[in-house]
């Protein structure tokens, strides 16, 4: 570029120079800003080895099934989850109680028992203040994965995952989680999505939907109502 041309068009030259300076400044600023951030801890690596629990698989509930035993523990070998189940009720404000520790999950006692007709609700933390919680890998579940709920009297209610979804908390699907359903189902609930440091809460929930995978069907005769 000949110097004569530059002198002939001083404003254009000045604009070009200013532009280059701004570009360099922006590059430096971006580099510094991204260094102070911390990316989300991605749930990679192999999850802990959790064996498939032994026990008789529960049959599908009949229309006149009396109450089934209460749930005691939850095992999800596909994502390395193994936890006892505590009981969760409602807070004074009418919201779902959540476990006081991130290392255990809890069954909402106002929901049907796992293996009964209806959707049993189990909730657990995705993380604590310091690191991963019991449901850290929940969103890694895929349709077809099996979820094992241990109950009193040794029976296992085994569920097959049908869907894994994330919802903003402002649009929590109350009916889909707590509403009546005509067969035995399970809902696993945790948090997910963006974390808002101003409020200390995640902005979304991750919900896993699963249906009972019954054990030996009650022979070829219809499940009698009487």
């Amino acid at each position: 570029m000949s110097p004569i041309r530059l002198i002939r068009r001083p404003w254009a030259a000045a604009a070009a120079l200013l532009g280059v300076v701004m570009l360099c400044g922006a590059a430096a600023g971006l580099a510094s800003a991204s260094h102070t951030g911390r990316p989300a801890t991605p749930p990679t690596g192999t999850p802990p080895l959790v064996p498939v629990p032994k026990g008789k698989w529960a049959a599908a509930p009949s229309p006149t099934t009396t109450s089934v035993p209460r749930p005691t523990a939850l095992d999800i070998p596909a994502i390395g989850v193994k936890t006892r189940l505590i009981r969760l009720g409602l807070t004074a404000a009418g919201t779902l109680q959540v476990p006081s520790t991130a290392s255990v999950a809890g069954w909402y006692t106002g929901s049907p028992r796992p293996g009964e007709t209806g959707a049993a609700v189990i909730a657990g933390h995705i993380d604590s203040y310091a690191g991963p919680g019991v449901f850290y890998r929940l969103k890694n579940l895929k349709p077809g994965d099996l979820v094992y709920v241990q109950r009193g009297r040794g029976t296992l209610a085994v569920f097959k995952v049908t869907a894994v979804r994330m919802f903003p908390k402002t649009r929590f699907p109350t009916a889909a989680v707590y509403g009546p359903v005509p067969d035995a189902q399970l809902r696993l609930v945790t948090c997910g999505g963006t974390f808002d440091p101003a409020t200390g809460h995640y902005l979304s929930n991750v919900i896993v939907f699963a249906s009972l995978r019954p054990g030996l069907r009650p022979s070829r005769r219809a499940a009698a109502a009487r």
Partner: protein
């Protein structure tokens, strides 16, 4: 320089549309749920409610599929199966005499359109001489804190019945082979009383909030009986809001704001680009010489 040809302009417009469409599609795909079952599901159950019809084999076929999805053998009067979760779509229910060959002509058959999120009871109803397959839709929601109950009258001996839960009337003068709508009931343990033309029957039944029930009035060994079936169960109380199940220990922590720097960079790029173009432009040749 010649003006761009119309075809070139058209090609350019098409390219812009294609790129925009691709970008929008990618954006939508990235917002989709991470892993989910393909289509919706519904529920279907089968019942034999014709007092003087012998036992039957009941078949459920997916539309156009000759191999039955479900077969219930030797279903006798009074039997109601549990609900089976099925993909939404068209189905056929067929009844054959118990033990009849699966290839034989059914005694009765009907088409059922299972809509996603809906449940259906397909019942053999009426007297043997007038047997029909009735599709009874099942509701899957209750008013908050309440139970819903309805009655199916399947007693031939007691032609007309009145059914009460405590003082609440669930069915008044209900004729044989009829179904009531759902009635709202306060949760609790109720004395269900069925009064027929010549007999009565009573059963004590807990009815839970958030659940739906069907009372089936039957002839049992020549006497009046009533079965209480739980059609669907839900949480007794739905918690408010969304569970707070995360404390942020694994969440991303934002660094300094990136947007202002990006804006500066973009402006700088435009300025530098414009400046360089202007500097390097050739002078247009003079149209007229001085």
């Amino acid at each position: 320089m010649r003006a761009p040809r119309p075809l070139t302009r058209l090609a350019a417009a098409a390219a812009v549309v294609a790129v925009t469409a691709a970008t929008i599609t990618l954006g939508l795909l990235s917002a989709a749920p991470f892993a989910s079952a393909s289509t919706g599901v519904g529920w279907i159950r089968l019942a034999h409610l014709s007092p003087n019809t012998p036992a039957v084999d009941v078949y459920l076929y997916s539309f156009r599929d000759p191999s039955a999805k479900i077969v219930l053998h030797h279903v006798s009067y009074g039997t109601v199966s549990g609900f089976e979760q099925v993909p939404a779509g068209d189905y056929t229910v067929a009844m054959r005499a118990a033990g009849a060959s699966p290839g034989s002509k059914p005694v009765l058959s009907t088409a059922v359109d299972v809509v996603a999120g809906h449940a259906y009871t397909v019942a053999g109803m009426g007297p043997a001489s007038g047997l029909r397959l009735q599709i009874i839709p099942d509701r899957l929601s209750t008013p908050p804190g309440k139970a819903l109950v309805r009655v199916i009258q399947a007693s031939l001996n007691q032609d007309v019945v009145t059914v009460k839960a405590g003082h609440a009337t669930l069915a008044r003068h209900l004729k044989f082979a009829s179904v009531t709508g759902y009635r709202v009931v306060k949760p609790g343990t109720w004395q269900i009383r069925v009064v027929g033309s010549s007999e009565q029957a009573t059963v004590s039944q807990p009815l839970m909030a958030g659940s739906l029930y069907t009372l089936v009035v039957l002839d049992e060994n020549g006497h009046l009986a009533v079965d209480c079936l739980m059609d669907a169960e839900g949480s007794k109380v739905a918690p408010m809001g969304a569970p707070a199940t995360g404390l942020g220990g694994t969440a991303a922590r934002p660094g300094g704001a990136l947007l202002p720097w990006a804006a500066i960079g973009l402006t700088g790029l435009l300025a530098a680009g414009t400046g360089l173009v202007l500097v390097s432009r050739r002078r247009r040749p003079a149209l007229h010489s001085r």
